[in-house]
Amino acid sequence: MRKTIYFAMGSLVAAPAAAGELSVSVEIPRLRVAEYHKPYVAIWIEDASGKVAANLDVWYDVDLKGGEGTKWLPDLRTWWRRAGRSLKMPADGISGPTQGPGTQPLKFKEGVRPLGKLAPGAYTLRVEAAHEVGGRELVSVPFQWPPKRAASASASGSAELGAVRLTVKP
């Protein structure tokens, strides 16, 4: 009896050490426009059927009075349809303020929110950006989970987003 518990605990303790890791860097380009607004950005993971497997981040005007910042969330059209409209905003652990031009490094650990647990399979990282008086862009980076070894992939936007780089580690 005791032994069983001991082994069970042993495996539980071992699990986090083997947890995979997912690093994302998102480049927000400097735009030459008369009226600049920092973009709204959503970052999420879809499974092979297009279902949302994890909502990683949403950057919007979280601090505007009366939740006014949520008004433009549907401009992130794909994210809004697949995930946003069924979330209560601000969503715990994923909502954050908008970011200016530059590269944002992000790290997500398996088993820890917001990434949580991903079943083995094919996935796509989606990064969608839209800005006020501007356009919208969706950048996708496919990947396999769990990764056998550390691997990187990237894709680039042409207007609202620069390079999106994904690194997965076992």
Partner: protein
């Protein structure tokens, strides 16, 4: 092509000899919302109502709003704020205070017709056939009464779409969603079902037209026919506001005892880019 028998089966309550697809009315009638997909704790849409040939152009008449009814996500009425009417369009705001789908409709039933008395043709109107019939004086001949149900509508959603406001009333022509009317994307086939007095309307001719008629040469009318379940598939290649219209009517009425019946339906649907 037009499945008469099934329409009769779907049936008007009043006895009918024949049923033919209704002829399109002279002008299209529509309610155009400022947005169909909104977010936040509360929101607002402003809606323009008009009748016109071009879509969605203010060029003919403002829409009468006497029969405007807005149904909220809980099925309860929502009070619109009427701004007013100009020559070509009327405008109202709809406050969105609850999460879910709103149905914005101008729907009415009525009866109208003619009779002859002493060689002169007279018009009659009523809210019901009985009311119109009561207005026919003794000795009148060639009585023609048409009972009509008409519905002009659109939909808008705050947050996540729901179905409560979309329940059929079971009267006249109605469209019920298979694909939710605020979950439409260009390039993705959508399905809707048409009901006539609450029952599937098979063999119904449906017109599906993309807005922006002023900026193209082609009329762009896609004519679709509902299947045995009253269902039809909508394919929007490009994102935008689309107009959908259908109607059905009985054959010539042959007197006050067998009034003609007519039902019409139009809606504006927005297909968003993915």
């Amino acid at each position: 092509m037009f499945a008469r028998s099934s329409l009769i089966a779907a049936g008007f309550a009043i006895g009918l000899a024949t049923l033919v697809p209704g002829k399109a009315e002279a002008h299209r009638r529509w309610l155009l919302p400022s947005a169909t997909v909104l977010s936040g704790d509360s929101g607002l849409v402003t809606v323009d109502g008009a009748s016109s040939n071009g879509l969605f152009i203010f060029e003919h008449h403002a829409m009468q709003l006497d029969d405007l009814k807005v149904t909220g996500p809980d099925g309860q009425p929502v009070e619109p704020k009427i701004i007013g009417a100009g020559q070509y369009r009327s405008t109202f705001d709809v406050p969105l205070k609850q999460q879910g789908t709103y149905r914005i409709a101008v729907a009415s039933d009525g009866a109208m017709g003619f009779y002859e008395l002493n060689g002169e043709r007279q018009r009659i109107r009523g809210k019901t056939v009985a009311e119109a019939q009561a207005a026919v004086p003794a000795g009148a001949t060639n009585v023609r009464i048409t009972e009509s149900s008409q519905r002009v509508e659109t939909f808008t959603t705050l947050g996540e779409p729901n179905d409560v406001a979309l329940k059929a009333a079971g009267r006249g022509l109605e469209m019920v969603p298979v694909t939710h009317p605020n979950d439409l994307a260009a390039g993705e086939p959508a399905q809707v079902q048409f009901l006539l007095d609450g029952k599937p309307a098979a063999g119904l001719e449906v017109e599906f037209v993309e807005g922006g008629t002023r900026y193209r040469d082609d009329a762009g009318i896609k004519t679709l026919t509902t299947d045995a379940d009253g269902k039809v598939e909508l394919n929007a290649a490009r994102p935008g506001m689309y107009y959908i219209e259908t109607s059905a009517s009985s054959g010539e009425g042959d007197g006050a005892a067998a009034p003609q019946r007519r039902a019409s339906y139009t809606a504006v649907l927005e297909f968003l880019p993915l």
